[in-house]
Subunit: 146 residues, 6 copies
């Protein structure tokens, strides 16, 4: 707009369906159930997760874009959806695998997705990763040091 | 209304989060992947399912109810949600267990929930069971012989 | 389409915010609370109701309309929204007033709105009235004798 | 389920974004504005349309499917979305082109999509086409002779 | 994640249905209607309110939680939902009672809920209270001095 | 609340339906399609846009309002909706007209709406303009120098 580049935020959503459970192998079954409740069922249960990725940047005065939308969609697909969708997070996604001690809570999933995306979006800054586990529960992460 | 009992439909929603996968044990891995795609991953994935249960009946002229809402909610909780929520449908729900040959598709889940609820709702007729696996995919079942 | 008039259903939504409570004056307080639970609080509580009105008719081959949308909107506004919106159903809407014995349940509201609209929509047939009291609870009425 | 094939309905949604306007070339500008209001602006405006396609059929006892979901998605993409999405309905979609006299109302779009899909879904019967123009306005078509 | 505690935001929703009206007892009826419009109807009307409570904190490296979700849900239930749900805000909720001069607007409800929750959530900081009166109207409060 | 004016944010939504396309007249058709994809179709396509306008201010201790809601609604209607709704952004909205070089992307629409509203809301500060082009894509603008 009239030669002045304005900082703006652009958000794109993506979905993935995954299974997970919460379990601390150093605890007894009782302790796990006490802390994690129904989520401690090791057969796993699952969710339709919704991911909102927000990038910040200046509007390109020629294209009107902060970021190429097709490119952003491809990055989300390659870095996150292809890895998480129709997967069991505890067994098939490396950051939550046995021995990592990482429980796939909504909070940890948001941080893990941030790390998968940080530095991968050309020309814009990753601003926020929001993950909905259910429509009534979500986590927001603004990055290390934020 | 003025002594005339009118047939009306009442619908109540409930949610459950569950894991599942699609697999025919008499087929090869290749055959399963060809038919079921990503859903054939035997580690399982999951969904936030939404259930809509519709009952039909006359309005009680004293209470204005087709069915006692608290009772209906309790029945859905006892017969469906407590059995399906935070469970792995293939391993923990009897109607989809190994050996039944029942694949936990949205269609089969709708039929199974119908069977769990039919005849359990006092004073009203079960009219329709709708199950959403995702916001963009759902199945409706109107009962045997419908 | 090519001179053949096809039966089609058209649905329009409208919203209204109202207060209500459930109470049978011939019962004791205990009886009312037992049957109606929290809804028996005579100070009233309230909801954002959503109304879906479905009309059935043939498509006018010249306009492509079953019904003039602006006219339908005006009818809903005049017959329902202007009467129910920002009102206390038990005190201000005649069909639920003291002495009628009509409890303003979702079921009875659907029937009452049907009666307000029946015969008022030129050139189309009222097919269904759906009323949502909450996103997870709704009633459908298809008319007397349906 | 136990060898008995049950009739069930399966619904899948799809989206398309399109421009349109309402105009009868045999009328004056005044007449068009009187009947079609803001929609008579011939520069066009647009919507995010949501399409719900419902098919009816028996559940395949081996797969648990009424219809192969991937195939259904491909059919919707090929027959409807690829033709309507990011298009101007009045100029680029044959059934609404100048000279057809077909106004691209929600009702007519539902009928047109029915005709595009009828007979194209192997093993299941097209049951209903629902088109949302806005979240508060939609049309349902059940087919010729329905 | 790798021993570094990251600040993250977690949001949980809750719902309550309540009646209210807007009225300043030191004004005439005309003045009240001029300022508050339809909301000045002292019979009251009502809404399905949605509450979003956001807490900020570090992720516990053992549990993966910012806050125990069951505990958070119990706090929202005890401090807010049990007090506001199925109540008339003007008559039954102390902070809006006659003589306080507090009008139960969306803005004031957000502040009141902040005060009910501040300091009650162990191990995390209350970050934001959002209250939706309708899907198209909401207020955000970030605390005194924010 | 008790004489202390608290800063709060109030958000109101509004909708408009518009047509648009993306095109740089100094580029070849190939270049436009390469950068803008399906959006480069000069017949135009369209969307149901959702606008969220957030204002910040102190709560008036007498009315409980940050801003008069009726007034805010009128301003959104006059400054934005009446200009954008049922319009073709490229042909009928001055800030995107031919020769401006302004492509009507979600980002640029958010900035343009900010400029239409800044300084027009008495007693409150414009805080954020959010524009949804689709439910899964939106832009946020916090103003020049933000």
């Amino acid at each position: 707009l009239d030669g002045k580049n304005d900082m703006i935020l652009l958000t794109r959503k993506a979905d993935f369906s995954a299974a997970h459970f919460y379990w601390n192998p150093t605890w007894s079954e009782e302790e796990n159930v006490k802390v994690f409740g129904k989520c401690a069922n090791r057969q796993g249960h699952g969710h339709n997760y919704t991911l909102e990725v927000t990038v910040a940047g200046e509007i390109d005065v020629v294209t009107g874009f902060v970021v190429d939308l097709k490119l952003l969609k491809d990055i989300l697909e390659r870095e996150v959806v292809s890895v998480y969708d129709h997967r069991h997070l505890n067994y098939e996604v490396p950051e939550f695998a046995e021995g990592t001690g990482m429980v796939p809570t909504t909070e940890n999933i948001a941080v893990a997705i941030w790390r998968r995306l940080a530095g991968k979006i050309p020309g814009a800054k990753l601003h926020r990763v929001r993950v909905y586990e259910m429509p009534d529960l979500f986590a927001d992460f603004y990055g290390e040091g934020a």
